[in-house]
Symmetry: C2
Subunit: 348 residues, 2 copies
DNA sequence: TGGTGATTTGGTAGCGCTACCATTTTTTTC
DNA sequence: GAAAAAAATGGTAGCGCTACCAAATCACCA
């Protein structure tokens, strides 16, 4: 029975998991706890000899720091909440992937939050995650409830708003000009000689970035002298199935249409796959354009013309901006246009 | 200059963000801090009158609990780390989605970790995330480094291992019998009359669940009296592109093949899309089967025969098992076979 | 009306760590 | 070689919250 070195009534006040603590390491190494703390956090302030003794004690005891305690005592917990509208949309996943691949090697962990496009939920999620004393934070979009915005500003730590670009971000901003991107595809369709062009999207009631792209689409058509404005939409989240549905709906309702501008590649792919099935020729019978640059697009027949956005890279860059600020410096720029690219392929 | 009510040299020892604390609420409501804590955590132990006064103070001051401090003082932090091999594989994303949609409404936050299929990284990630005093945890697979396994056992809190099914889990287990699933598709192909069947997969060196499916495939073929065993593999992660590559490689190397059993639907979809493009008829020229049940499969021409696994549901169930245990009870079962289903469609 | 038990409130002592300052030791300088 | 500066180590006091126990209040019944 290993009573305990100190021999006392070690009843361990709380429910302690009996984890090895910094104190244990200190005892083992014969130094003060604070010195162990230093050896781990700012090794340059500890003499080489002690450092080694402490490192040995750490591995001998299998010590793992309690980040919660550290977070309470100092500041951040090396947690970075990432708040996105949805986890069922590939776009956000790819951004998160980029973020995660960049933050994890730097010793930060990603805390996931999703809002289902509901700004009210976003606001309450902000409250919750701020409770974890995060070191920084990444949020989607530039529009938030006033309460959330106020709290984030008061919070005062590094924050990157992604996906969208605007004048008035809280701290840092990286994204694309959605209006521009929408206009880009519309212009392309017009240049290809199409006149009767529809825009097809989903969930545009809550996804205002999709609305921005639609807005760009309309402006571009107008600029080209096309006044008619055809819109098909659906409330379900984007999927191949909804793309297929919107495609059939459009064919049925407006057989005269020459080109379809889909709000994203999922929808566009669903349309092309259905076209393949029912023998509609793309682009001869009808042209199809998308947005995002999903890899699937390149494997379709015909390959999908799309406006690609470097989603993974956006995540990486957002994380880098955050890291730059976390590590005391400041990012090269606090407002980054990650850009987009029109990929003209055979579907238009 | 608002010096401070107490009038003192309020230098605020640390770097405090000046956040409203429980103490502030207590002062505002005219009660002891501990009472506020109770009003928030176990309101049934506080009289209605006080409860209301405290609630008012909370919203008047905009108090948000510091979960870090709470986590340190009590036990868990209401954080649930979810450790997966990769965030670029749709399967894991869908599982995470299910987990997140179930845990978030219950007041738990998901902490994301990815291992890149490296058990060494997994072990160190386990150390890191345990540092956050999580309330519970979800991990992928049943095989871990001995050190990680030891720590998790010693940790003693709810843990669900997902994706795979086995006799010896650490705490709770939900998943599918990969060997069985692999055998299921192979049997189907044999029953359809195909004899010369290949298995095509990626990253099988590190993805042992894919190896298990291959193993099942082999056993089924053997059981059917087919001794030849053709395997094509690639080291890159699964993608449409790699599926296409493997498909062409197989056609080229073994023109006599009758059926291709792909390790997942991403690969199989890449193959069908390429077949469409180069005019290979599926299944007349060659049959194609997959694994997972990605929605894309249903939109291909021909539609993809696959073994579906309810990935989102697996996430939901894993989270429910965890919640059951976290809330003091115990899950209906600590080992759940989420099952799979052979979806026979036109590609075989 | 006093005594018993149930309910409600409060006090105290940490959870494990680090900021801040004090002390000791080493190095540098004239 | 002594004084001054720099570097290395330690002590103490919390970070904001909750577990545990003690005290006070209330309800109830003989």
């Amino acid at each position: 029975m290993s009573t305990n070195k100190t021999g006392g009534r070690e009843r361990r006040r709380h429910h302690g998991d009996n984890r090895v603590t910094l104190k244990d390491v200190a005892r083992e190494a014969g130094v003060a706890p604070i010195t162990v703390s230093r050896a781990l956090n700012t090794p340059e302030n500890v003499s080489a000899g002690l450092r080694e003794r402490i490192d040995n004690a750490v591995s001998a005891l299998g010590y793992v720091p309690n980040l919660i305690a550290g977070g309470l005592a100092s500041a951040g917990t090396r947690v970075i909440p990432v708040v996105v509208p949805s986890l069922s949309i590939l776009t956000y996943i790819e951004v998160i992937h980029g973020i995660q691949q960049t933050l994890e090697p730097a010793g930060y962990q990603v805390l996931l939050g999703s809002t289902d496009f509901d700004l009210e939920r976003e606001a309450s999620l902000v409250d919750t995650v701020l409770g974890y004393s995060p070191s920084g934070m990444i949020m989607t979009g530039l529009r938030h409830r006033e309460s959330a915005e106020r709290r984030l500003k008061a919070w005062g730590r590094p924050l990157v708003e992604i996906m969208e670009l605007g004048e008035t971000c809280i701290d840092m901003n990286i994204g694309v000009e959605n209006t521009e991107a929408g206009a880009c595809m519309a212009r392309h369709l017009v240049e290809q000689g199409y006149q009767r062009i529809a825009f097809l999207g989903t969930g545009m009631a809550h996804d205002y970035r999709a609305r921005l792209r639609y807005e760009g689409h309309r402006q571009a058509l107008k600029a080209a002298g096309i006044e008619s404005d055809v819109l098909f939409q659906d409330d379900q989240p984007s999927s191949y199935e909804v793309g297929r549905k919107l495609f059939l709906e459009a064919l049925d309702a407006r057989p005269d249409l020459q080109a379809l501008h889909f709000a994203n590649d999922n929808l566009a792919a669903g349309a092309i796959l259905e076209a393949n099935r029912i023998g509609v020729r793309v682009p001869q019978d009808i042209a199809i354009g998308g947005y995002l640059g999903l890899s699937l697009g390149e494997h379709l027949t015909p390959r999908l013309t799309t406006v690609t956005v470097p989603r993974y890279e956006m995540g990486v860059e957002a994380a880098k901006m955050l890291l730059a600020k976390l590590e005391g410096g400041s990012p090269a720029s606090s407002r980054v246009d990650i850009g987009y690219e029109l990929k003209v392929r055979e579907s238009t």
